[in-house]
């Protein structure tokens, strides 16, 4: 897929081209995934970008690099009921609509500060009684779950061991990877 089609797929207007994030240029045809039976390739891309905003790459991998988008897709497909699934699927459109209202642009075209503001604002909204989920809070929760249970984070940040082979009941906090609150 070329850049033009990709831009079209993502629903970015020509006007916004100047502010299209850098990553679009580095994409190739392989980047637009196959329909996975739950999310279309387009939705997968949007999800992938959303988790990237929630936990970005810094000097360590972010949620996108760690495949958290795929994880969320599988989790929502298999582990939630139909109502939640439907709200999840329609959530992307609603998120962009809100973003348009708020900052006059779809989320992907906002600056980092604006995006964070949109997501934090939406996250703080109480879930209305007729809804099962707050889309942003829901995706954020799954992003955190997927990120924290990823191999990279568990092995490099959480000192995860499958086989500890020991137990010390009185271990100094100073020697642990934790600090006190």
């Amino acid at each position: 897929m070329n850049r033009r089609n990709l831009i079209k797929t993502l629903g970015i207007s020509a006007v916004g081209l100047a502010t299209v994030p850098f990553w679009i240029d580095s994409w190739t045809a392989e980047d637009l995934p196959e329909d996975d039976g739950f999310l279309t390739g387009n939705q997968q891309l949007q999800l992938s970008e959303l988790v990237n905003i929630i936990i970005p790459k810094t000097n360590t991998p972010g949620a996108k690099e760690l495949g958290v988008g795929k994880f969320i897709s599988v989790m929502v497909r298999d582990c939630y009921n139909e109502e939640v699934k439907a709200e999840f699927l329609s959530g992307f459109g609603e998120l962009n609509a809100f973003s348009e209202d708020f900052y006059g642009n779809s989320l992907i075209k906002l600056t980092e500060a604006e995006r964070n503001d949109v997501l934090c604002t939406l996250e703080s909204y109480e879930t209305p009684p007729e809804k099962k989920i707050n889309f942003v809070a829901f995706v954020k929760g799954l992003t955190i779950a997927g990120f924290m249970s990823s191999q990279y984070v568990m092995e490099n940040h959480l000192n995860y061991e499958l086989v500890p082979a020991r137990f010390h009941g009185s271990f100094p906090v100073t020697q642990s990877i934790y600090t006190n609150v």
Binding site: C79, I144, S149, L162, V163, P164, F167, G169, S176
Partner: protein
């Protein structure tokens, strides 16, 4: 009779048949085969071979498709087993799904089942506390059920026998109410558990906090090496099956041991329909088996039969074993078969926090935790309810998850690992009083996939249980307050009986054939070549996790049975 001819009878004849390969059936198999008895072990579920049939055992969290969670569809299709604390993606394959073997709940009862070689011994919580005479003497002292036909001295050597082989970690605490055993080194309590232990010791003469004894090899002995079992590696994902054999299961221990003798024939996928009673010989001559897959019926014959099908299924098999002599189920002259079923009351929890000792946390993982042996009504009646409760006790540092923000700030918050206060948890393990009104029976119309009547379960809590919950809340709260714990909250899960997975009784032991089904050797009073040594035999429940007692009773009964066979009495 099904498929019967002289040749088949010879081919299908053994010295002994054991029904069930779970924690007690495995012991029956081991003890019988070691004594040279040619033994057929029947297991209604599939074969599960140690290590090779533990498909999830070495999976890291990220290697599981749903990171441990089960799909919505599975949970929706399995409302009962989904309530079990261990029914997750990593071990769901070891649980019976709700529709695979339905039952009738006359009253709500969550029956958790594991049909496979090894049964629920793959999945158990591995807690092994001995009974004392305060437990065995309970019924006669407090005037409920019937008197146990045995006392602690009768079973003590068999506890030792079982503990040495299985590998039990524990501390010699010197408590009369929770006798010491043959222990491998204990696991450590956490700093806050130790603190609580000291606080309780300071303030109460008769209350003790100990490290719970557990069936883990904390230090390998030659007998464990001989079984091919190594030291526990503190993985605490035991429910998947342990590739080290670090905890005791039939699969890692008794079944391969029995296999090695050359005296065991193990037949998985074999559902026992009934025991065959010979009216002329006035004894059981064998069992009728339905192949769980082909549904073909085959009879197997033996001099003795051990029924270790798990408490409720043992009741079911005996109730379904009808003959002219026993029209109401095998050994059921007094009409008490299936009655006086009891369980453990696991409804109540107390939680708290502790803000001291914050320089300490834990490192690695413990396969056990703290334990408070029963202190209520032990030496004298102190309350307006009978009996009492033991309590699990754990204290670990809470991990503070700061999930504020979006973007780099969120990422920093998540990876800034913080410890909060110690989080204390206690859960009640209450003795329940067996009653005639708590029973299981055969459903008159509904049948399972093998044409066997469904079991109807009618078991409930009573006023004694409710009072005990209140007392547990009050006493544990007081003990927590005295230790300076804060944010103390009490929780009643209101869970139905069954979820404790400690269902017991229905084929109770006793001295008198008029009021019990089994004698002091776990023999049916009225059909002496049938032994029941699983949870069904329990006259009362105690407060201890019961598996150790089933194992010890089994080894003891096998010893007796083989001696009787040698004498020509069986």
């Amino acid at each position: 009779m099904a498929n019967i001819n002289a040749k088949a009878v010879v081919e299908n004849t053994y010295d002994a048949i054991v029904i069930g390969s779970g924690i007690s059936g495995g012991w029956a198999a081991k003890e019988l085969t070691e004594k040279g008895i040619r033994t057929l072990v029947l297991e209604r579920g599939r074969d599960v071979k140690h290590i090779v049939d533990y498909p999830t055992t070495n999976l890291n969290p990220w290697e599981m498709e749903h990171r441990g969670q089960l799909p919505h569809k599975v949970i929706k299709e399995n409302p009962i087993v989904s309530k079990c604390y261990a029914f997750h993606e990593d071990a769901a394959h070891f649980f019976v799904k709700d529709k695979e073997h339905p039952y009738v709940q006359e009253k709500p009862f969550d029956w958790i089942k594991g049909y496979q070689v090894g049964g629920k011994s793959l999945l158990w919580a591995r807690q092994v506390q001995r009974w004392s005479d305060f437990d065995f003497e309970g019924p006669v002292k407090d005037n409920f059920a019937v008197d146990w036909p045995i006392r602690y001295k009768d079973i003590a050597p068999w506890y030792s026998h079982v503990e040495k082989f299985a590998g039990i970690s524990g501390n010699k605490d010197g408590l009369e109410e929770l006798p010491d055993g043959e222990f491998l080194p204990p696991y450590e309590l956490t700093k806050a558990e130790l603190y609580f232990k000291d606080q309780v010791a300071d303030k109460y003469e008769d209350r003790h906090v100990i490290v719970a004894r557990c069936a883990h090899i904390s230090k390998q002995q030659p007998i464990h090496a001989e079984q091919g079992r190594a030291q526990c590696q503190n993985r605490t994902i035991c429910q998947r099956g342990c590739p080290y054999g670090g905890y005791f299961s039939s699969n890692s221990s008794t079944i391969p041991w029995a296999q090695k003798t050359g005296n065991m024939t193990l037949k998985p996928d074999s559902v026992v329909e009934s025991l065959i009673y010979d009216e002329e010989k006035q004894k059981v001559t064998g069992v009728r088996v339905i192949d769980s897959i082909t549904k073909e019926k085959t009879d197997y014959f033996a001099r003795i039969v051990f029924v270790n099908a798990s408490a409720i299924n043992t009741n079911l098999i005996l109730l379904n074993s009808k003959s002219e002599r026993f029209p109401n189920g095998l050994g059921n002259d007094n009409g008490l078969l299936g009655k006086y079923v009891a369980f453990h009351n696991y409804r109540a929890k107390v939680r708290a926090e502790y803000n001291g000792l914050l320089d300490f946390t834990t490192d690695g993982k413990s396969p056990t935790s703290g334990y408070i042996p029963r202190f209520r009504n032990v030496r004298k009646q102190e309350t307006d309810f009978l009996r009492g409760y033991a309590s699990g006790l754990s204290a670990n540092r809470s991990k503070v998850n700061n999930s504020e923000g979006i973007g780099t700030s969120l990422k920093e918050n998540l990876l800034d690992l913080k410890l909060g206060p110690w989080r204390i948890g206690s859960h009640m393990m209450g003795e329940t009083i067996p009653k005639e009104s708590n029973f299981v029976s055969l459903d008159e119309t509904k049948k399972d996939d093998w044409g066997i009547p469904l079991i109807n379960i009618s078991v409930d809590y009573d006023e004694n249980d409710e009072k005990m919950i209140q007392d547990y809340f009050e006493q544990i709260t007081e003990m927590f307050e005295n230790a300076g714990f804060t944010n103390i909250t009490t929780h009643d899960s209101k869970q139905a009986p069954g979820l404790d997975i400690h269902e017991m009784g229905g084929v109770r032991m006793g001295k008198d054939p008029e009021t019990s089904l089994l004698n002091e050797w776990n023999q049916l009073h009225t059909c002496k070549n049938v032994f029941v040594t699983d949870g069904a035999c329990m006259t009362s429940t105690g407060t201890q996790n019961p598996s150790l007692t089933y194992m010890a009773l089994t080894a003891r009964a096998v010893d007796f049975a083989v001696k009787e066979m040698e004498k020509g009495n069986l």
